[in-house]
């Protein structure tokens, strides 16, 4: 340990503004070899492999289940790409791409039981898909007509949370409620909560506090961290000195790292974690080790902070391609199936686009609507005054 008099201020200009090649490659090596603990059931080459810890959570994942997961992955990627295109064409103010994170989201989402509750951040389009939310419901947020139009109670998928990490505490509180209501334990109506956030969020106090609360109240909540390696331009190393999943130990609950580009592994691990919670053993931290293949948002320019090599390497781990290869090689699924899914995804994209382009402009008093559950006389007066003012332009 250094003592204060040993400390010499760094020379100006020595600090690098972007990671060195060695830095990146070192990170990729860790990625490539995987942590010894990394859970994987489907290799990047599409080979089904065994993990004795989690095989029992994947026994039903036959060829039909794989086809279904493949369909999810392709459709979600397709409308995500359409969202990006719509932003580029001026139809959306912004889009938050999920490219590369399809498996992490579909795996987790498909592991949920209908009675489970999800708290997303703002990139969870794939999880929304698994909760039966039509992709068009996501558009209002990015076009600016609403802040999320789906019913969080009916879909059991909370609204997107933009402030980083806030939802981790909200999810923990919800899970405490599940426990207080006696919905934890053996039985068909037992419930759990799953909360989604990114690697950057782990630096937020709310995430730390959520971990503390969940641990001391044994809340049935799965903390699902999609480590996509970058918090806008800041690498994971800027957030933590230790692998993120290892942080759970300090709070007193299990942490596990899963290959976030392996939909089977994400599904199996999340099933296990949700069962832990439902039976009363929660919480659990899952680190889905994945990669954001696109920008943070359409306002971001990743070419300023990351290297092309990195992107190329992760392309080899594509979450969809490995399922396709497995379906072909191990289950002899023919081209016809893939063509069908492709056609379906094109139809979805067309419907998505048409819906977006035809979304009506909100009425002028939309902004006053539902600020309070009970009427506020001051706000009602403002609304009335503004509508009167607005009406004065009619016919002008």
């Amino acid at each position: 340990m250094s003592v204060p008099q040993d400390w010499i201020p760094p020379k100006a200009g020595v600090q690098e503004s972007r990671p060195s090649r060695e830095h990146v490659v070192a990170g990729l090596k860790a990625t490539d070899e995987g942590d010894p603990e990394l859970v994987q059931l489907l290799t990047p080459e599409g080979e089904r492999v065994s993990d004795p810890r989690f095989d029992s959570y994947a026994t039903d994942l036959d060829v039909d289940a794989l086809r279904s997961l493949y369909r999810d992955l392709v459709l979600v990627r397709r409308f995500d790409r359409e969202g990006n295109a719509l932003q580029r064409q001026g139809q959306l103010g912004i889009w938050v791409p999920l490219l590369g994170q399809e498996a992490a989201q579909i795996g987790a989402g498909r592991a949920m039981a209908p009675q489970d509750m999800a708290f997303p951040s703002y990139r969870e389009h794939g999880v929304a898909w698994t909760r039966g939310i039509d992709p068009t419901e996501l558009l209002g947020i990015f076009r600016g007509t609403d802040h999320g139009s789906w019913d969080p109670k009916a879909s059991r998928f909370h609204l997107y949370t933009i402030v980083i990490g806030n939802q981790v505490l909200n999810a923990t509180g919800y899970a405490m409620g599940q426990k207080f209501e006696g919905k934890v334990g053996e039985g068909p109506d037992s419930e759990a909560t799953i909360c989604f956030f990114g690697d950057g969020a782990t630096s937020q106090g709310d995430v730390h506090e959520g971990f503390v609360w969940a641990a001391v109240y044994d809340a049935p909540v799965v903390f699902y961290c999609q480590n996509n390696q970058w918090a806008i331009s800041e690498p994971t190393e800027r957030q933590s000195r230790v692998p993120l999943y290892k942080r759970a130990t300090g709070y007193g609950f299990p942490g596990i790292r899963v290959d976030g580009n392996d939909v089977l592994a994400c599904l199996a691990v999340t099933r296990w974690a949700l069962e832990e919670c439902r039976s009363g053993n929660g919480p659990v931290l899952i680190e889905a080790f994945t990669y954001r293949m696109d920008a943070h948002t359409t306002s971001d320019d990743p070419s300023r902070y990351r290297l092309a090599d990195e992107l190329e390497l992760w392309k080899l781990k594509d979450p969809i391609e490995r399922v396709r290869v497995n379906l072909v090689r191990e289950h002899h699924v023919g081209q016809e199936f893939f063509d069908e899914v492709q056609a379906e995804s094109d139809e979805l994209a067309a419907r998505f686009r048409e819906f977006c382009e035809n979304m009506p402009q909100p009425a002028p008093d939309r902004m006053f609507s539902q600020v309070y559950a009970e009427p506020s006389p001051v706000l009602e007066a403002q609304r009335a005054a503004y509508l009167e003012y607005h009406a004065s332009f009619e016919g002008v």
């Binding site: 999320g148 209501e181 506090e209 609507s369 539902q370 600020v371 559950a373």
Partner: protein, 324 residues
């Protein structure tokens, strides 16, 4: 009728709300066995159990953030923040989530959370224990903000705040916790979001809330000996502001003094001054005057007698208004 302290009135109100609705839970630091640092939750954990009176870890964002989740689940959490100056770690959850979820979901999600905050100075405390942060919350759309000033209001207002489907920031005047007043549990309570004329008068109007009500009533009594008939209004609700009774009063008296412990700049008192001059401009015989804390951080406690509005400063403003 028995005299009850304001703290005990709150305790009785919380108890009544918890007995009425099993979804009401109390949560915060030290609210269980200790009964809260001001004993407002005294005995509740013993009677309602650890699941309805939660001694939480020490983190305000955690208290508010988990209360929001519990409310989404269908509970009605009442959070205790120990002191005014400690609410700021939870401020993000209050303004980013608590205030906006109903709007964001277009009414599909209600978050009926009450955040209780003992506020104000005058108790000789160290830094961060004597602040009046109410204007921050009144500025946030989606929140309702109230302040009680006496035991009867404390008893009813806490129950009404818990019953409200909107999030309510509930300010309690900590230096009045031990002052007694009559509480009639069989009375018909006044609506929560309404101000009240506490002392009718015809010469000048004083509008105030929370700990300053007592000070203003004392000032009105003192002014009476000099022949001034002062009307005193307890605002009770800071957002939405029930300003009509103030405007109506100013139309009769022609003069308004607004009193608050909070700093004056961009505050509740600024809001009242602006709106009253807008709505009662031709009735005013003098500008709206304000008696407030100063635009400084809350000072060391040996200076607080200078900082806090007192009887003399209120009377001085009354004299200046009358002399206009």
């Amino acid at each position: 009728m028995a005299q009850t302290t304001l703290a005990k009135a709150l305790n009785n109100g919380l108890r009544a709300a918890m007995e009425r609705d099993p979804k009401v839970i109390v949560m915060g630091e030290d609210v269980g066995k200790l009964g809260g640092v001001y004993r407002v939750t005294d005995g509740l954990q013993k009677d309602f159990g650890e699941q309805r009176v939660l001694d939480t870890p020490l983190a305000e964002s955690g208290i508010i953030g988990t209360a929001i989740g519990l409310a989404i689940r269908g509970f009605r959490p009442v959070c205790e923040i120990q002191f005014d100056g400690f609410v700021f770690p939870g401020f993000d959850q209050i303004v980013s989530q608590l205030a906006k979820l109903h709007y964001r979901s277009q009414g599909k999600v209600a978050v009926p959370v009450v955040v209780r905050i003992p506020f104000g100075g005058g108790i000789g405390a160290v830094e961060h224990h004597s602040e009046s942060p109410e204007s921050y919350f009144a500025h946030a759309a989606g929140l309702k903000v109230v302040a009680c000033s006496n035991p009867a209001d404390a008893y009813w207002m806490i129950q009404q705040a818990i019953a409200s489907d909107d999030p309510v920031i509930f300010f309690e005047p900590k230096r009045r916790y031990w002052e007694k007043g009559e509480v009639d549990p069989d009375a018909e309570p006044q609506p929560l979001f309404a101000s009240r004329v506490v002392r009718p008068g015809s010469t000048l109007t004083v509008a105030t809330y929370g700990p300053m009500l007592k000070t203003c009533l004392a000032a009105a009594s003192a002014a009476e000996t000099e022949g001034h008939d002062i009307e005193v209004i307890d605002l009770r609700t800071l957002s939405p502001l029930d300003l009509d009774p103030v405007v109506e009063s100013v139309r009769r008296t022609g003069r308004l003094v607004v009193v608050s412990e909070a700093p004056s700049e961009s505050s509740i008192t600024s809001e009242i001054a602006a709106r009253v001059q807008q709505e009662a401009f031709y009735s005013l015989e003098a500008p709206v005057l304000r008696v407030t804390g100063f635009d400084t951080p809350y000072p060391p406690s040996k200076c607080e007698e200078d900082y806090l509005p007192d009887l003399d400063r209120v009377l001085d403003a009354v004299d200046r208004s009358l002399a206009w």
